[in-house]
């Protein structure tokens, strides 16, 4: 006789047969069998089965339920058995629904990030820390809620089943993606972080510190990256202010030292009036670019105050040299602090360093140049122990006539940028001269120079306000990516069918983005205390605390992304766009189709719809895992652990650098929401900067919008050597396999640098592993 059963959660409780019989009765009634005698017969049948269980055995709940089904069938109630089975399945699903979330919480709580792909989904979050774990609980619960309450059924289905990916889905109801910050505007007159007012900075050190605070504060209002559109122009006034102050103080010191006993020696305070007067009479300024008129006016004023002419002149000349040197040093220290800060400060629930980016390179003033020179030098030097800085993502803006060719005023900075990037992987390079970027460019209006968000996002066109096709104060609102390879697999080689299903998917995504826009539009200024409250977002300074942000976020973009163009082409036609010009035409036709859809939506809605070459972190593995399960292994399509990034030529395909650049360039013109091209080179890039510059120049000339070079950067933490390390450190000869301390290996993942491979998710690890360094075949004969 059975007296106990085991429940689903493992507990053993006493067995109550009447509960089973009651459930049977309910199922019978629901199926229209209301005769109590029937129920009794089924009960007897169940009892017979139960007798076969060994004495003292403890059946599991699901075994009992199977016995009930069998009893129903035996008694001639197959229809009730079916209803009962359905009821059970439904109950199971409901139970799983409740517990799935708890299981995920369990994984988040108990497993090391190393063993959990879920916890490494975002390489920038350390899933092993308290705050990282808390962030993951929140994100998981929010996704659950958003899917159940905010998506339409067809959207939820498409999202759940991997037809589409809604990026930053945990933030669905809360905020927009990213913003290009205009530092000059923000600093003008000072700003507030919500916990106190910060005066307009007056020194290069404060400029650097406040730039970090601006990024951190804005990061708390948005889930995506934070970028400074014009870093050099934003920080340059700090250099100017520091120089003016140092010039005055140094002049006072020199006068004190040089003036004979008893002669007049105005101190720094007294020189304030002298400087102000000299500015007024000469029209010049105490600036790095020496104004003879100003210096002359100061000397003249000193003479009229009784300072001997030779003393005044000598003091002024020394003060200028000294002030320039001191300002240069202070700028270096400020940039060093900025980089350290951006790699250590936390935001986003305290679990992540902000996703910071800075654009620079075209300011030709001595102050702006001093900023960029020192920023690059400190980046080259690395962090405290020479480590490669992960943040900020630096973007050197290349422009013909400004910094691209010998003789251009900032050509030296471009060369320095190449040298630094060949050692540190940053800066990346953006190209104002690319046809689709130069069309917005207005000389004398730096805000019309393209800015990129580190990982690739780009916002330029503005159908909402044609007069403001600029980058500062704007950003992406939200983006959703389409699993293109799946559409291609399902089309079974039928091109027309592929485009038909693509159109359907585009319509679905457009509706979803509009739905999300509605949610965002109804948020109020107070929901974004810094972004909107401090006027960082374009036109938000015209709104009040309780105003909805609808009108101003129309400056932002709604973007439709895609992944795996290469796999699409293989699935549809058997080859990808790296392999033949015909496939390149097919690839361009597909991406052009998406772009044209976006353009038509923009015309229809007067919102900025753009086409995105999706950065694929997390996503690259998610889609293909699902598709593998669904379709099995299809050679060239689902036979790897990741789908290829956007329009990239597959990383495992051998191709020369120039061919990769030329094949990918036309897609940059189509993907107006953002794009990036990488060239992979093997070897210690820092030993061959000339080769690095050749690649960047080829990108510029081919019409690439944004690009970078991937190359290995390793570091031995023991001796500090930075370069390429195999198993043995070239400098100290230490072998990795002999000791506990591993070499650090910096690699790039969807635009962000990661210090070790540990935080890569599985798909990204596989992708890194497969990367073919273009053109290098070891010693094998290369017949390609």
């Amino acid at each position: 006789m059975v007296t106990e059963i085991q429940k689903r959660d493992g507990r053993i409780v006493s067995f109550d047969e009447s509960k089973v019989l009651n459930a049977v009765g309910r199922a019978m009634r629901d199926s229209g069998h209301s005769d109590a005698g029937d129920a009794t017969r089924v009960g007897d049948a169940f009892h017979q089965i139960a007798l076969t269980w060994a004495d003292g055995s403890v059946p599991r709940a699901d075994e009992v339920q199977s016995a009930v089904e069998k009893a129903l069938e035996k008694s001639g109630f197959a229809d009730v058995a079916k209803a009962y089975a359905l009821y059970r399945a439904d109950r199971t699903r409901a139970r799983e629904k409740d517990s799935a979330l708890m299981h995920v919480f369990d994984e988040i709580t108990t497993r090391d990030a190393r063993d959990s792909d879920l916890k490494r989904d975002n390489a920038n979050v350390d899933g092993d820390t308290a705050m990282g774990t808390m962030l993951q609980y929140g994100a998981t619960a929010a996704k659950e809620y958003n899917e159940k309450f905010l998506l339409r059924p067809e959207q939820a289905k498409a999202y759940r089943e991997g037809d589409i990916h809604i990026h930053d889905f945990d933030f669905y109801a809360l905020t927009m993606t990213c913003c290009q910050i205009d530092l000059q505007k923000l600093f003008h007159g000072g700003f507030s972080t919500g916990h106190g007012f910060l005066r307009e900075p007056n020194d290069i050190r404060s400029y650097g510190a406040l730039a970090c605070i601006a990024i951190q504060s804005n990061q708390n209002d948005q889930h995506g990256g934070q970028s400074i559109a014009q870093f050099d122009r934003g920080i340059a006034p700090g250099v100017a202010k520091t120089f003016a102050k140092r010039l005055r103080v140094d002049l006072a010191e020199a006068l004190d030292l040089l003036s004979p006993e008893g002669a007049p020696r105005p101190d720094a305070e007294a020189l304030k009036a002298v400087f102000a007067g000299a500015e007024a009479t000469s029209g010049g300024k105490p600036a790095l670019a020496r104004s003879e008129a100003f210096d002359g006016a100061v000397v003249a004023a000193l003479e009229s105050d009784g300072v001997a002419a030779p003393v005044a002149e000598k003091a002024m000349a020394w003060a200028r040299r000294q002030a320039e040197k001191e300002t240069d040093e202070a700028t270096y220290q400020s940039m060093e602090a900025l980089i350290h800060n951006l790699n250590t400060m936390h935001s986003r629930a305290g679990a992540q360093t902000p996703f910071s980016s800075i654009n620079y390179g075209t300011d030709t003033t001595p102050e702006g140049r001093m900023v960029v020179k020192n920023l690059l030098l400190t980046t080259e030097k690395g962090l405290g122990h020479g480590e490669t800085p992960i943040f900020p993502i630096q973007i050197f803006r290349v422009k013909d006539g400004v910094n691209y060719n010998p003789g251009d005023p900032n050509y030296d900075l471009f060369q320095l940028a190449c040298r630094v990037s060949s050692k540190r992987l940053f800066p990346n390079f953006s190209f104002v001269d690319a046809p689709f970027n130069i069309s917005y460019y207005k000389p004398g209006h730096p805000e019309t120079e393209v800015s990129y968000m580190g990982c690739r996002t780009r916002v330029m066109a503005n159908v909402h306000d044609r007069d403001r096709e600029i980058s500062p104060g704007r950003g992406n609102l939200s983006f959703t990516s389409i699993n293109l390879p799946r559409l291609a697999i399902e089309a079974h080689g039928d091109e027309a069918k592929f485009f038909r299903s693509l159109d359907k998917m585009l319509a679905l995504v457009a509706q979803q983005l509009l739905d999300r826009f509605e949610i965002q539009a109804n948020r109020k200024v107070k929901n974004f205390p810094f972004l909107m409250g401090q006027g960082v977002w374009l036109d938000s300074d015209r709104l009040h605390w309780n105003d909805p942000v609808r009108e101003v976020i129309k400056h932002g973009t709604l973007s439709i992304g895609f992944i795996g163009l290469a796999e699409v082409l293989v699935a549809l036609y058997g080859h990808h766009h790296g392999e033949s010009p015909e496939m390149q035409e097919k690839g361009l036709a597909i991406v052009r189709h998406i772009r044209e859809f976006c353009d038509s939506m923009a015309a229809k809605t007067k919102l900025n719809w753009t086409c995105l070459a999706t950065p694929a972190e997390g996503l690259s593995g998610r889609f293909i895992r699902m598709d593998k399960k669904r379709y099995g292994i299809i050679p060239g399509v689902t036979d790897r652990d990741y789908y290829t990034n956007s329009f990239h030529v597959p990383v495992h395909y051998k191709i020369s650098a120039i061919d990769k650049i030329r094949i990918e360039a036309p897609y940059h013109a189509l993907t107006n929401a953002g794009h990036i091209t990488y060239v992979e080179l093997d070897g210690d890039m820092a030993r061959n900067v000339k080769a690095f510059e050749a690649i960047i120049r080829a990108m510029h000339d081919a019409g690439i919008g944004y690009g970078s070079v991937n190359h290995p950067v390793d570091r031995d933490p023991v001796c500090g050597y930075n370069g390429v390390i195999g198993d043995t450190c070239p400098r100290c000869g230490r072998r990795e396999s002999d000791e506990l301390i591993k070499f650090e290996r910096i690699r790039r993942i969807t635009g962000y640098l990661v210090g070790t491979l540990d935080r890569f998710n599985d798909a990204k690890r596989a992708e890194e592993h497969d990367r073919v360094k273009h053109g290098l075949s070891g010693n094998a004969s290369d017949r390609a």
């Binding site: 820092a686 000339k690 370069g723 070239p730 075949s777 070891g778 010693n779």
Partner: protein, 198 residues
């Protein structure tokens, strides 16, 4: 590839004569580790030195590899578009001096041409008195990295060299001086001229 007759060869310095053929162990493009800038590397098949610790022992045998004419190689090099230098490696390039000299003459002055060798410059200079191929190859290259790989003097911090005994020579200057002259090109020896990585 079949042996190439006159009809298949591009017009070269010896137009009309059948082209010489190179025995190739490998060809790399967009290389950044065998000289400054982006380069093509021509690995020849066959080497008499057999240095202990050699990175490419599969190139020792004088049989095997791929037979290719200089003009075919020239076409492959041109296809890279970006590459501005060519490095001869191997194998021992001076074991196939004639064919490589033909290639180098097609390449210059558009490409800078560098050559690794297990011989010393002084020995090659002496040999060039009696050997036409050696003389022609020396006269057609810009840079010579000379000397065998000596495992005991291996040093990974060296720029573009395997062991510290090897020298990076400015060939036109060395020929003019009739003695080995180090290059001063910062691309080869670094901004500080130390020929070592920092």
């Amino acid at each position: 590839m079949p042996p190439t007759g006159p009809s298949a060869s591009a017009p070269g310095p010896d137009a009309g004569k059948p082209e010489r053929v190179l025995r190739l162990a490998g060809f790399d493009r967009d290389d950044i580790v065998d000289g400054p800038g982006l380069r093509c590397v021509v690995f020849v098949q066959g080497c008499p030195h057999h240095c202990p610790g050699c990175q490419n022992p599969q190139t020792w045998a004088f049989e095997g590899g791929e037979e290719v004419t200089p003009s075919e190689l020239f076409r492959r090099i041109e296809d890279t578009v970006l590459d501005t230098g060519v490095t001869f490696s191997g194998g021992e390039p001076f074991a196939q001096a004639d064919a490589l000299a033909d290639l180098a003459r097609m390449l210059r002055p558009r490409y800078d041409v560098a050559c690794y060798t297990g011989y010393l410059f002084e020995a090659l200079l002496a040999k060039s008195e009696r050997d036409e191929g050696t003389r022609r190859l020396l006269e057609s290259i810009d840079i010579l990295v000379d000397g065998p790989f000596v495992e005991a003097r291996k040093d990974r911090m060296l720029l573009f060299r395997g062991s510290a005994n090897q020298r990076i020579l400015d060939v036109p200057a060395s020929l003019a001086a009739r003695a080995a002259v180090w290059t001063t090109d910062p691309g080869w020896v670094g901004e500080d001229g130390a020929a070592r990585a920092g």
